[in-house]
Every structure is written in C-alpha cells, then in structure tokens.
Amino acid sequence: MFSFRRKYQLDDLTAIVNTTKTDRASVQIAVIDDKTFPLLEDLRRHQYNITFFHDIERLSSLTDFDIIVTDIRGVGKHLGSNLEGAHLIEEVKKLFPNKYLVAYSASRFDATMNIYFSMCDRQMKKDADISEWVTLLDRAIQHLHDPLFQWEKTRQLLLSKKFSSAYISKLEKAYAKTIIKRNNKYLQRELEANTAWSEKPIAKVAVESITTFAAKFIAEIISAG
C-alpha cells in the first residue's frame, strides 16, 4: 500500500539555515577556575560575554549560562566530592545536558580523568593561546545553534541510557518534524507519551532540554523570517 504521508528525517534539517546571526556578546559564558584565567580580559575584549567564578556554591548558579568552561581541579569543592571539577562536570552534564561544556586542565597526563574529559563537548589545554580559545568559543557558539549537533548530543545520551534504537528513531523523526513544521507539539507529544522516564531521569532532562532547544530554535528562525 502506498502512503503519501511525508516522512520527516534528520537529513531534512541540513536544508534549514538558521539565518539568525548569533553574536558573541549574546551568548552567556561561565568560566570556573580557582586560580586566575589569564586570557579573561583578552577574551572579553573579543566581545565574549564571560562571567568568571572562582567556584560555584550551587549548580543552579549555572542555569542561565549557555557555555560552561571549567577547570578539572580545584573547583566544585562546595559540592562535597573529592573529584572536584570532574564531579562538577558530571553534575552539569546530568542537570544541563544541552549546555556546551568545555574542560580545560593541565591534568591531561592523568588517565583517571579521561572519562570526565570525554563528557565534555570540547577540551582545552591550560596553556592554550588566544587564537585557540577564539576558535573554540566561536565553534561552541555555532554548535549551540546547530539543531543537528544538539540532536546528536541527545541521541548519544539516550543510547548510553540503553533506550532502544526504535524509540530513538521515533524521537528523532518527531524532532525533525517539530523543526520543519515549526511546531513543538510533535516532540512534546513524544515526551509526554513515554512512561519510562521515572526510571531514567537523566534521559528525561535531556529530552526536555532538546524540546526547549527546538522551541527556541523555531522562535529564532521565525523571527529571522
């Protein structure tokens, strides 16, 4: 039997160009380091909107930031784990899965930290120069507004939480349809239909985050005309 219903796929999103230009100043960046961050003023002069923290007392203080840059040692002390920044990374990943996370450290020699570095979107050497930071932050800003990048992050998280590929594929189609039809109800419907969220709260946060991203992205492309 033939079906004339259109099938929405992720590939369709490549054709959607987000014409909304995201300038550096409109993206909120948090930098967390117990010591100094030598390039802070240089990066601010490059128009990045950076708030510097020596440490954070609660994870909620990161709610409004789009990009979080953190050292892997010497921070996150208030969270009570001796893993310090590594624990902070783990918790940010759980609570804010769609934020862009950058770990920077001089501890690349420590293999026990590899897993925490891997949780981040990007890693940076502690002695990186200004051009390396500018390249990284510009790419991060680009990724924050890239629906394919955002979906890939969600997909990886769902896979790691052992969701079936059939379910992920269904969600992927709903996501593509949501953006193409510029209507969040398709993704919202999937979110509400799943009854297994209570067993996998981190995955629920991830799907809620991608739903929020989709809504914001749709608003941006509509306002850009």
Partner: protein
C-alpha cells in the same frame, strides 16, 4: 617501568630547564628595559624568544602527557577541521630564530589551504618535526618543507641534511627511544620519543608516514650526514566509522 618514568622525568627537567633559562634571560632583559635602557628592536627580539620558547615548553609537556596517558588523545580529543599548512607556517615563524642561531635556513612552499580532519594534537606535529630537523641539521644547511595536495589528501615532505640513517635503522626509526648510530655520535640530549609520538599522531589520523635517506653522504666532524626526507600524507576526510545507529 619505574626506570622509564625516572628517565622521562629527568629528560623533562633537563629540557624545561634549558627552555626556562632562555625565557628567563629574555624576561630579565625586558624587565630592565622598562627603565628605558632597551631599544625597540631588542624588545621585539626578546619578546619573540619568550614566545618561541614557551611553545617549545608546551611541546615538551605534550610529549610527557602523551607518554603518561596516551588514551587521552585517542579517546578524549575530538576531530575538527584544521589547517596543517597554517600550523607549519606559524611554527616556522617561531623556529626561524632558533634555526638562524645554528645557521640553518627554513623554507616552506606549496600554500595548501585545504583543511583536514584532525585532533588538536596535530598542533604539536610541526613543532616535533622542526625541533628534530633543526637539532640534527649541520650549520649552513637548509630545511625544506613542501606541501602538496590532491582531491583527497594533503602531503607534507620535510627534507634536511641529518645524520645518516641506514636502511636497517629506517625500519626502527619510529620505535620509542630509538636513535641511529650516527645521531648517537652527536651526543644531543633527548630520549628519542619525538618520532614515536609523531608516528602515533599519524596513526590516529590514518596518515601515512615514511622516511628516506640518501646514499650520497658526506662527513662533518667524523659524523656521516645525508639528505633525510620525512613524508606525511593525511587524508582530508577521516575514513567513515561504522556508526552505532
């Protein structure tokens, strides 16, 4: 393993001490310059010395970090689009002064603008190659860096005069701690880790690496020298991985 770590640490201390002494000397001159005793050209010179040595400092730390935790580069670093020619060009600017001190010229040709799929560790590659080439080139010689590209690959060939490497030794040149008979005679410091690190970087990028050494030789201070060529061929795009999807 403990002896290996001890050697690694001793070599790192040795290398970093030399680099740091260069930085200190220039920083000292510059700090005196704030009292008006230094001209503009000297300020530029010493600033550049500090910059080039701090890059060498980073390269040493990169090698040791890799030695202690090779999985970081393999498992953690992400691929991105990078300009290999640009990395070499930038590194040459830093290296020209060091090379000039040894009366060695560095030239680069074949402006290849194409980007390749590479991990951040690729930034270390020009530093590793040039550090080695300058170290082993005799005074008055030249280092030629030639870039070439076709549809799918970017190739870089680095040629210089260096201690002769026999065909048998060429097969072992990328082994950790390996040094050729003629290069040992030079009694230069270093653990011979640079080329094995270089091979590792090429392997994770699916790049081909080969060396050749001319049979036409000459003798300088009882050391046999010949033209040495190192060729690296990088695919522009990483081979497609089998997806879990």
């Amino acid at each position: 393993m403990a002896i290996e770590y001890k050697n690694l640490l001793e070599n790192l201390i040795h290398e970093l001490t030399i680099i740091n002494s260069m930085i200190k000397q220039s920083a000292d001159v510059l700090s005196k310059g704030t009292k008006g005793k230094i001209d503009h050209a000297a300020i530029v010179h010493h600033s550049e010395v500090i910059v080039e040595n701090s890059y060498l400092f980073s390269t040493q730390l990169d090698i040791v970090s890799y030695e202690l935790n090779p999985k970081y580069i393999e498992d953690v670093e992400n691929f991105g689009r990078r300009n290999l020619y640009g990395k070499f060009y930038k590194t040459i600017l830093y290296f020209r002064r060091i090379a000039k001190k040894k009366n060695v010229k560095i030239s680069i040709s074949g402006d290849v603008k194409s980007l390749i799929d590479a991990k951040p560790v690729i930034d270390t590659l020009p530093m590793l190659i040039l550090d080695n080439a300058v170290k082993y080139s005799p005074s008055g010689s030249e280092i030629d860096i030639e870039f070439y590209e076709d549809e799918s690959e970017v190739q870089v060939t680095v040629s210089n005069i260096g201690p002769y490497v026999s065909p048998k030794e060429r097969k072992r040149i990328f082994e950790r701690s390996f040094k050729s008979e003629e290069s040992i005679k030079l009694k230069l410091p270093g653990l011979g880790l640079g080329l094995s690190f270089l091979k590792f970087i090429c392997d994770i990028h699916h790049a081909a690496v080969s060396v050749s050494c001319s049979d036409k030789t000459c003798k300088i201070n009882d050391i046999i020298y010949a033209e040495f060529k190192l060729t690296l061929t990088f695919p522009k795009n990483r081979p497609v991985q089998v997806s879990v999807r």
